[in-house]
């Protein structure tokens, strides 16, 4: 089996993979967003599994969430209620948007899992004392995990986890850079599956797997035949769990060279300082990585970050891939569009309910956008 196949398989069937880990004797905790302190979970000897939910029917979730709730929250709740996540030991809810905040309550009140924790991150990233608050919050989470698992999480275990995650994140960054330099080296849908899988696979094995995968890619065996005249694009939004979207872009003469997604570069952005107090260092990364729109660093931080990513990677256009009913992203969009267009970076918006918009409509939209670049 190629290394790539491990990634594709995990991305395709995260729950099956998670159940396998559990069957092997490791407890599994689910989480929904990149603000979950995976390092602490991992150091407790627990497997952190990112939850992606389902895009199929959501019968069970529909009796807890109104129709105007985003498909991510709805889909994840569905898998918790319909038995798909039966193997799970519990879940961790970092505070982000209003929807997740209420999903956390609904989850706590309606699911049968053993462990549950809210990690109420600060919303402000612009105040020094918010860092102390986050450190204290992570310490609380650590204590809760310890009480549940019955064993202490010592600094040495945390240091090992930090090292593991730093290495894996670095390799993902390498992968992204490789693709940015040579966009034909592997298809966009495969890259998206690889990052997704990195939130599913056994983390101890992840750095090694990523190294081997990078070698496979370098060997040229996943080349797409794409030429250099493709339009270089960046995708921005919360998450994009639609591999077809990348193929569509490629068929229309474009190629995604970077992203600002919660299931993309925002998940591996930022490095944890391995020296000093580990929890402090973990907290610090959240202040240094690129923020999600549910956090406040400054009024213009996200626009500046997008513009600088676009510049660094020679991006010719940005596609905002937004989930319908996602408030934080929807609030930012008009300003980001204005800011980026003023810098001569064209922008387009694709709003996704659960499935992608009808193919004809989507193709026309993307085609027109790519053509005008």
């Amino acid at each position: 089996m190629n290394e790539l196949d491990h990634f594709l398989e995990a991305a395709d069937q995260p729950e099956r993979y998670g159940a396998g880990i559990k069957a092997g004797g490791t407890p599994v905790l689910g989480y929904l967003c990149s603000y979950a302190p995976e390092e602490i979970i991992h150091a407790a000897g627990v497997h952190p599994l990112r939850l992606f939910g389902t895009l199929e029917s959501t019968l069970h979730a529909d009796s807890h969430l109104q129709a105007y709730c985003c498909s991510l929250a709805r889909g994840v709740l569905e898998t918790a209620l319909d038995g798909t996540l039966e193997f799970l030991d519990g879940a961790v809810f970092p505070h982000t948007c209003d929807t997740i905040q209420r999903l956390s309550d609904i989850w706590r009140l309606n699911t049968p899992f053993d462990f549950f924790a809210d990690v109420v991150h600060p919303v402000r990233l612009d105040a020094g004392f918010a860092r102390e608050y986050l450190e204290d919050t992570l310490q609380r989470f650590k204590r809760e995990l310890e009480a549940w698992s019955g064993s202490k999480i010592d600094d040495a275990a945390l240091a090992r986890s930090i090292e593991t995650f730093n290495t894996a994140r670095k390799r993902l960054d390498d992968l992204y850079r490789m693709r940015s330099r040579d966009p034909g080296c592997i298809s966009g849908s495969r890259v998206s599956s690889i990052v997704k899988a990195s939130m599913i696979l056994n983390r101890d094995e992840l750095p090694g797997r990523l190294s081997r995968l990078l070698e496979e890619i370098e060997s040229g065996r996943y080349r797409t035949g794409a030429t250099d005249d493709r339009k270089r694009l960046l995708v921005a939004g919360s998450l994009c769990d639609h591999p077809d979207f990348y193929s569509m872009v490629e068929n229309l003469g474009g190629v995604v060279v970077w992203d600002d997604l919660c299931t993309g570069s925002r998940a591996f952005d930022g490095f944890i300082d391995p020296s000093g107090d580990p929890v402090k260092a973990i907290a610090r990364r959240y202040f240094e990585r690129r923020p999600c729109p549910s956090k406040h660093l400054s009024n213009t931080a996200r626009a500046e970050a997008l513009a600088s990513m676009a510049e660094e990677h020679g991006v010719q256009g940005i596609i905002f891939f937004l989930l319908k009913f996602c408030d934080p992203h929807a609030f930012d969009y008009p300003y980001l569009k204005e800011y980026l267009e003023a810098k001569n970076i064209p922008v387009t918006l694709i709003e996704v309910e659960d499935s992608l918009p009808p193919e004809g409509q989507l193709t026309t939209r993307l085609e027109t956008f790519i053509y005008t670049l």
Binding site: L65, R102, D118, R124, E132, H296, D327, A330
Partner: protein, 412 residues
Amino acid sequence: MTDDKKTRGIQSPPIAMDAKMKEIMTGYYIEAKTAADSGKQVAWITSGGPVEPLIAMDIIPVYPENHGAMIGASKMGGALCEQAEAMGYSGDLCSYARSDIASSVTNGGPIGGLPRPDMLVACNNICGTVMKWYEVLARYFDVPLFIFDTPMCHTDYHEESKRYVKQQVLEYVAFLEQVTGKKLDYDRMDHVGKLSLEGQRYWQAVLDTAASRPSPLTAFDGFYHLALIVTLRGTQVAVDYYRDLLAEMKDRVAKGIGAVPNEHYRLLWDNLPIWYRLKWLSNKFAAHDAALVADTYNTAWCRSLRYIEDGNFLDSMAEGYTRMYLNIGVDQMADTIIEMAEKYSVDGLVMHSNRSCKPYSFGQYDIQRMVRERLGIPCLLIESHMVDERSFSEAQTETRIDAFMELIRNRA
């Protein structure tokens, strides 16, 4: 339905204080709109934000949410929301935010827009929307923004949250001192804190009178009289007003005057009002001899009473403002509703499933279930966007209200 039933229920004696409210609010908006002439600064602040330090520093607080309510009540929300959509804001966003953003740019709405802010204060104890919304305003007006971050208390108010919020109280005062170039007078702050508490106590007492049968006021009356506890909390004007309103309510109780003349059924309302349909809804229920005697929105401004200490306002407001109704878990919200349902002896629960407000609305299905299980009373769900009248379906709502009332009648 007989003719008699159609007409009755909509003619109880008006509340005398209505006129006074109008007068005070007019004066308040005139003062705010002419702030520049009188050399005063204006702060836009969220409805659940810590306003008392502003009052103590002579800054005029202006509430886009109160403005939103006026926009909704004058049925101008649809057009403004549409303008916001044309600016790129999704039609699924909070309609207060959409109408306010549009009116900031166009000076639209019933009073020709709000006075330009000198500063912005957003407290996320009600939602994350306000932070995103105020970021938009801060860029547009290019004025300083203070974000008061009150960590969500899903189950508890933790020590670390307490420290974090208290640090922000100090930082907030420093922010205001910097923007105004003045020092906060702590004696004055104490006084304002006292007035704030006094006003809240009177307002709660006013709402408490609804426990009498018949109830002298409905939640719909409350939505109108609420304006001062939002906008003028911490002033003598609000204290006097609610003291007088309380006297009037007590008098109505003594004389047996009900807000709904043939009050037969008593209901509890959840979520924000549907501002453009207040009268319609109120008449609709009254025609069924039903009075909405209590609600979760009007009381939200008194919730901090249990945490704020007399004589120690600035320090204890950290907890008061953090443990707001929307900043707690769904189960605690359900407990609150059940407590109120018992206190006001209600026969049913009417929930506004408000597309504008996810933190208020998600979880309603669960609350509904808990209420049914624990109290066995019927629940009704009405969906809308609170100030975007385009989202409201009259025919559907009417049918559902009729069916709901039928259910209640059959139980009685």
